[in-house]
């Protein structure tokens, strides 16, 4: 305990030091236009504008795992919309801003609706295509001035004062940027943010936890487009002139470079990346022609080489390294800096009223809670599941056993809607769930774990569990960004802590899930399933990789859950574990059920013995 106290004290001290550091930085920032020479002021403004675009890409690429090469086109969209409104129609730039928001959001929505549902590489390829299309469109539309562009754009006015000078627009740019950073950071530290961060672990887990992944992708995509559009709006009224060249695909690639360089998992990485790239570019453009003589795009060569080397040697960008330097200097001789989750959950206030629970029918009914009839799944010529029928009652542990390749995990995927079934019906608490989406099935109270552990390794244990409670919150991204949903967030985290305690992970709540031993990770998956307040849970090999003592604890936990009325379907290979625990056993082989019944009877069944031992004993 004393060590903990000591650590807390040290942390307090360092936080205080941090606060002074922050205050000094703020002063330096506010006084910027007073001491910065005009050249550096212009650069600072430029950094602020591109950092806003890079921030959107950090959210998309680093956090959500979506990549866009076409952000420059959104910047152009914002710049041109407001430029045309204020030059050709004489409207105020502020009305222009409103139009920019509406237009970027609608265009991004249309493009996102088409490309976001496609997996993997189609989105970035699509962004290359529309990035080019919009660029050529800018250059060829007469109303946009063609390749010469539009000039004499009015400046933005604040209370009748035109932001004409670099020193005055400086404040607008940086206030907008800091607001965007804070709002984005808030969003990431919320239920919606967890859903967005879960996208990086693939859509299967997220959907199984009830996340509407298409919606989460759209949220982050729209946000990134909006940031780009606003950056373009400022750019147009600051430069007072627009032409297509700063919105080309190559600039779009540069924005992505900033996000990757800075460290695409942290919002502050955007600022770091934007600053480094901008300064480096200025410097290289100045230095290289002097060194190498003739003019050329030497800086693109250097950038390209740098990007390749970076991705080969530091795929997470530079921010994590910078952060580690900070930590090391402020918390010397402590080991806790070695592994940190992407978002620290240490300081979260967990005192909150419990989340409401779903209504349950009382008593262990005699009828089935989950009932499957005649399920069939084919992969080409292979029949993975054929005519599978089984039922699961409340307060029952049903074990599903069978040799490897018998089709058990496929059956789990069919029951939870991860894969579409080819034939058959499934009813869960009175409702037909066959053909329904994974997240709708999760909403009804059917939770699951995965055979190959699917956690978000960079998130803390607590946050991984909280993802399982996704459907028990309701506040949207806007309230999350403004942190108006803190009550609900505390309740979710409180629930996550309770589940962590229930499964015995309370000691490791704040460490990244990826740093746990495999057995603990499996236990974490159970806690995540429980956080959804399920009526039934499906556990795929929960005891694999556990030591004997841990297995006993797991068995005790499952018995306690059963006593609470939970229905448990479990795939497991450890026969002692299964036979001591299960009420009934279903045996599968080659995609069909070969036996069903009480453990004692199953152990005597000649077909089961043959399936396992490969000999005919009859």
């Amino acid at each position: 305990m004393t060590r903990h106290k000591h650590m807390a004290q040290r942390a307090d001290q360092s936080r205080q030091g941090f606060r002074y550091g922050w205050m000094a930085l703020c002063l330096l920032w506010v006084a910027g236009p007073l001491y910065l020479p005009a050249y550096y002021l212009t650069i600072a403004n430029h950094i602020g504008m591109v950092a806003l675009v890079a921030l959107g890409l950090v959210l998309m690429t680093g956090v959500a795992g979506l990549t866009s090469f076409g952000q420059a086109a959104f910047v152009g969209l914002g710049a041109y919309v407001s430029a045309v409104l204020s030059t050709a129609y004489g409207h105020s730039p502020w009305l222009g801003l409103l139009a920019v928001v509406l237009v970027t959001i609608s265009v991004a929505f249309a493009l996102g609706a088409i490309t976001l549902r496609l997996s993997g590489h189609y989105l970035p390829l699509g962004t290359i295509a529309w990035g080019l299309s919009l660029y050529f469109l800018f250059g060829n539309l007469e109303i946009l001035g063609g390749h010469t562009g539009l000039s004499s754009i009015p400046p933005i006015e604040v209370f009748g004062y035109g932001l004409k000078s670099a020193g005055s627009i400086y404040y607008l740019i940086w206030v907008v940027l800091f607001l965007a950073i804070v709002l984005s950071d808030n969003l990431l530290r919320s239920r919606e943010g967890r859903a967005i961060r879960a996208l990086k672990g693939g859509v299967i887990v997220a959907e199984s936890m009830g996340v509407n992944t298409a919606r989460s992708k759209m949220i982050v995509f729209l946000l990134a487009a909006l940031y780009a559009g606003i950056s373009g709006w400022i750019y147009a009224h600051y430069q007072r002139f627009v032409n297509p060249s700063p919105f080309s695909l190559h600039i779009g690639i540069e924005y992505l470079f900033m996000a990757v360089l800075g460290g695409a998992t942290q919002v502050w990485g955007a600022l770091l990346g934007a600053g480094l790239v901008t300064l480096l570019k200025e410097w290289l453009q100045d230095l290289l022609p002097r060194l190498l003589g003739s003019s050329g795009n030497f800086e693109t060569i250097i950038f390209g080489l740098f990007l390749v080397l970076l991705l080969q040697h530091a795929p997470n960008g530079l921010w994590p390294h910078v952060e580690r330097l900070f930590r090391r200097s402020s918390l010397k001789s402590q080991k806790i800096d070695s592994i940190q989750p992407s978002i620290n959950t240490n300081h979260i206030d967990l005192s909150a009223p419990a989340l409401p629970k779903r209504l349950r029918q009382s008593g262990a009914g005699s009828d089935y809670l989950l009932e499957a009839r005649g399920l069939e799944k084919r992969f080409g010529g292979l029949i993975a599941n054929q005519d599978i029928s089984l039922g699961l009652r409340r307060s029952e542990i049903l074990a599903l056993i069978g040799p490897n390749g018998a089709g058990k995990s496929t059956l789990f995927d069919l029951l939870t809607g991860v894969q579409k079934l080819d034939a058959g019906t499934i009813y869960f608490s009175g409702e037909a769930i066959h053909g329904r989406r994974a997240r709708d099935i999760a909403r009804l109270g059917l939770s699951r774990s995965f055979q190959h552990v699917r956690l978000l390794p960079e998130m803390s244990v607590l946050e991984n569990i909280a993802l399982g409670a996704h459907l028990r919150g309701r506040h949207g991204p806007l309230r999350a960004a403004l942190h108006l949903e803190r009550e609900e967030e505390r309740a979710l985290m409180n629930e996550a802590r309770n589940q962590a305690t229930r499964v015995g992970l309370s000691d490791v709540m704040h460490v990244p899930a990826g740093s746990l031993a495999l057995g603990q990770q499996r236990t974490l998956e159970i806690a995540r399933a429980l956080a959804g307040d399920p009526l039934a849970i499906l556990l795929d090999e929960p005891a694999a990789g556990l030591r004997f003592g841990e297995k006993q604890k797991l068995a005790d936990l499952l018995r306690a859950l059963r006593a609470d009325g939970l229905a448990i379907l479990l795939v497991e290979h450890d026969m002692t574990f299964v036979m001591n625990l299960a009420d009934r056993v279903v045996v599968m082989e080659h995609g069909v059920v070969i036996a069903q019944g009480e453990p004692a009877r199953i152990q005597q069944d000649p077909r089961v013995i043959e399936a396992y031992l490969g000999v005919d004993l009859s």
Partner: protein
């Protein structure tokens, strides 16, 4: 618009489409085997045409220096890598030295000698110049694989795509340094032409259609019949499985990059007499091959050819009706294609 114009535009469209088809095939092939979306494919088009143009002007092409430099770095990387592996690797290292250092050196000497000989490079028969240019540019393909992609072959598709775009940036920058901002045209493989009805047909058009068809047939035979081709297909289906069968993924990667570079470079020489090639033209040409490949879902070879021909035709007709929106129309074609794919896409699936 009369029938003659329709036919003339169709001829244009098919000619360009055939070139896009070659590029689309290369893209599908590279993606299937290495999961790399090979954005720099277009740079090989420019390198091919501009290297040939350098020979025409009796100049040493900058790509020769690039070959020497890239080869030496590859060799150094191989050397450093193999040091950790102990003995038995000497054969591979000799091979590496042979092809990545000695071959470029010999080639450079040959080109230099030819240039300073009284005849000069420009007076050589065109087919000799073409072969020389291929020898200079094509080996860059496997070298790029060695330098950029082989060290991170297991990375997710998205990361490989970003690397690919970065390599594209580097090559475009290098192309500007080597060849300057002025465009070049290369001579057609043979002069003249004939009239098909009232529509004139250039000899180069026949060269394009004929040789790209030959290329496709050769590729088909290679993949269906030869052991190398089968090994590549196996790698495309299952890397780990292929590896267990003794097919080295590194070998497969270098081989497809060699083929892709060959197809790209040759495409550049095909298209050089038809349009002026600038240092950055290749990117747009390559991207049009891309649109074809995406229509095919980066998976089907025949569909990729069909898609690329469609792109060529669409480009030809839209340049007639709305020439300044030609590029907009071609790249916007990808949107309905993606929409169609998106609507067909139902299951949840994760991919690396």
């Amino acid at each position: 618009m009369n029938l003659d114009i329709v036919l003339l535009l169709a001829q244009d469209g098919l000619t360009n489409g055939a070139i896009y088809a070659l590029l689309a095939l290369a893209l599908v092939m590279v993606f299937a085997v290495t999961r790399v979306i090979f954005v720099p494919q277009g740079e090989f088009v420019a390198f091919g045409a501009l290297t040939l143009a350098s020979f025409q002007g009796n100049k040493l092409p900058g790509t020769l220096w690039l070959l020497l430099l890239a080869g030496s770095i590859c060799f150094l990387m191989d050397w450093r890598y193999q040091q950790g592996l102990g003995k038995g690797m000497a054969r591979r290292l000799r091979w590496s030295l042979m092809w990545q250092v000695l071959f470029p050196l010999g080639l450079a000497l040959l080109v230099f000698f030819l240039q300073s000989s009284p005849l000069g490079l420009a007076k050589l028969p065109l087919w000799v110049q073409i072969i020389l240019a291929l020898l200079v540019v094509v080996p860059l393909g496997p070298m790029i694989y060695r330098l950029a992609f082989q060290p991170m072959a297991q990375a997710p598709i998205l990361v490989l795509l970003i690397v690919s775009v970065a390599v594209h940036l580097v090559l475009v920058g290098i192309a500007l340094v080597f060849f300057g901002a002025e465009g070049s045209r290369t001579p057609p493989f043979s002069e003249g032409g004939f009239a098909l009805g009232s529509v004139p047909v250039q000899a180069q058009t026949l060269w394009v259609l004929g040789t790209s068809l030959l290329f496709m047939i050769a590729l088909g035979l290679f993949f269906e019949r030869s052991l190398f081709g089968k090994a590549l297909r196996a790698t495309a289906v299952n890397q780990t499985g292929a590896r267990l069968m003794g097919i080295a993924p590194v070998f497969a990667g270098r081989l497809v990059f060699l083929l892709a570079a060959l197809m790209g470079t040759y495409s550049g020489m095909l298209i050089g007499p038809i349009t002026t090639i600038y240092y950055d033209t290749g990117f747009l040409i390559g991207l049009k091959g891309f649109v074809g490949a995406i229509i095919a879902g980066l998976a089907s070879y025949p569909l990729a050819v069909g898609g690329a021909l469609l792109v060529g035709l669409l480009e030809a007709y839209s340049s007639f009706w709305a020439s300044s929106f030609k590029e907009v129309i071609v790249f916007a074609l990808i949107i309905p294609v993606l929409l169609w794919r998106s609507l067909r896409h139902q299951d949840l699936d994760d991919e690396a």
